[in-house]
Amino acid sequence: MIQFFQVTKYFDRYAALRDVTLRVDKGECVLLTGPSGAGKTTLLKLIFGAEVPDEGQILVQNRNIARLRASDVPYLRRTMGFVLQDFKLLPQKTVFENVALPLIIQGTAGLEVRRKVSEALKAVGLDHKRGSQAAGVSAGEQQRVCIARAIVNSPIILLADEPTGNLDTNLTMEIIELFKAIHARGTTVMLATHNRQVVEEMKGRIIRLHSGRVLSDQGVYSETNSLSCP
């Protein structure tokens, strides 16, 4: 599904990622963690083609991302869903319109759009808010709208970068449950976070990054591992 071979990424001679090799299989739930500046966001950006590796190769669904032309990047992204820390909704548009956007840009037929958007909104429990303006709903609801938008297209991979960064413990728990449900349906989930609650609750494979290197890569969270992380 996703493979990194000795990937290095520099920003002005500073290596944000150094010699990273990893492999994520279909249906896995991966938690990327590590201190600020460790390279979590950079790693995700490489997967969706927003950045190009300086060294090494990246395969996503057997396509070499490093060699992808800029004009092919949008088509790669349509197979993925994204959830980011700052919600990135269109504030003036309704919840429905926001969630429908990934379908509209692909030219999906109107009836299909309505069906899929309803489905996605139901999955995040917000079908009743479909007509509300995005800016008007609460922070937790906004993030759920983002998740609905990320899954409306039935993506093969769901990428999330600090999806709970702006939310309190209760709302975080809600979001965690949603991610778990999405993962349970067979979607590959890759989630970058330094929120311990998320790491503990998600119970996925944990990849720990530090200064651009993979520090550890193991099945489930445990207290001892967390202590060994500087």
């Binding site: 950045e51 993925m80 990135k88 909704l89 509209i104 840009i105 030219g107």
Partner: protein
């Protein structure tokens, strides 16, 4: 279908959200195109005028007083033998006087007391198309001057040549001014579009993230630019037409250059449409220019 609907709505929303800068863009575009239009209109009219004058180059061949009938027909034969001559009309001394009275009724008294035939008889020579160049006319005049019975030959070469030269200068001028103003228009529209673009930077980021292609994102901006150009072009046309009518009215009222108002004309429909099409092309080109980088980048 929904996609098209979405793009239409986005475009309208863009224009509405930026209505102030769009309005400024439209007005400046209109004035720039109108500037060129004024110049072009001047050029257009002078060119037409020069063309119609060139068609009407006439050579006047004045005969000596009391030329015999035989000599007159000798001159006629000579003239009709010339390649460049299309037609020849004879005006007798009596007819010349009559014509004078007709053309200048108020100055009739000038001829009083100058005898029965104050004006010489003449031939009015109309030139065949293709023989209207000044060299050919010059050669013709030279030959005709030598024919017995001819007193002198007159033709209005000088100022027709000057007008022709002036028109060709205007042609170069129109090209240069047009080019400068085109660059100005492109800059104005490109800036307006760039403003619109930056105002929606966040939105574009989202569209990119969810896999919209560069061209999809660019469409509303290109359409906005094209719209700006078309409306600007149309407005400039209205400005020109209005200005032109005022000018013509003033000309009529002032009483100067009588008869000129029948010669001057506004652009024909084709040229008017061309002006709007020019606006459209400039608008689309400038917006493409300003979103070009978008079409190429990844992030």
């Amino acid at each position: 279908m929904r996609r098209i609907l979405y793009l239409v709505r986005e475009t309208i929303a863009n224009i509405w959200a930026n209505r102030m800068s769009v309005a400024i863009g439209v007005v400046t575009t209109a004035f720039t195109i109108a500037c060129f239009g004024v110049f072009f209109l001047l050029y257009w009219n002078l060119k037409n005028l020069a063309g119609s004058l060139q068609d009407e180059i006439q050579v006047m061949v004045y005969l000596e007083p009391d030329t015999s009938k035989v000599m007159v027909s000798g001159v006629r034969r000579h003239l009709e033998g010339e390649h460049a001559v299309a037609s020849v009309a004879f005006i007798s001394e009596q007819e010349a006087v009559k014509d004078f009275h007709q053309q200048f009724p108020e100055e009739s008294s000038l001829l009083d007391g100058m005898g029965d035939t104050p004006l010489p008889a003449s031939f009015v020579v109309t030139l065949a198309p293709g023989f209207q160049s000044s060299e050919l006319v010059e050669g013709l005049a030279e030959r005709v001057r030598g024919v017995p019975g001819v007193e002198f030959v007159r033709y209005s070469r000088d100022w027709i040549d000057t007008l022709g030269l002036f028109v060709s200068y205007l042609e170069i001028g129109a090209l240069v001014i047009g080019l400068i103003l085109a660059v100005a228009t492109v800059t104005i529209i490109a800036n307006t579009i760039r403003l619109s673009f930056y105002a929606r930077k966040k939105e574009i980021e989202i569209l990119r993230l969810i896999g919209a292609t560069g061209s999809f994102i660019a469409v509303p901006y290109v359409v906005e630019g094209a719209f700006l150009g078309v409306v600007g072009g149309g407005l400039s046309l209205a400005l020109l037409k209005g200005g032109f009518e005022v000018f013509r009215f003033e000309l009529d009222a002032s009483g100067w250059f009588q008869g000129l108002d029948s010669v001057i004309a506004f652009f024909p429909l084709q040229i008017s449409i061309l002006l709007v099409v020019t606006g459209f092309l400039l608008g689309s080109a400038s917006s493409l220019l300003s979103v070009y980088s978008l079409l190429r980048s990844r992030a």
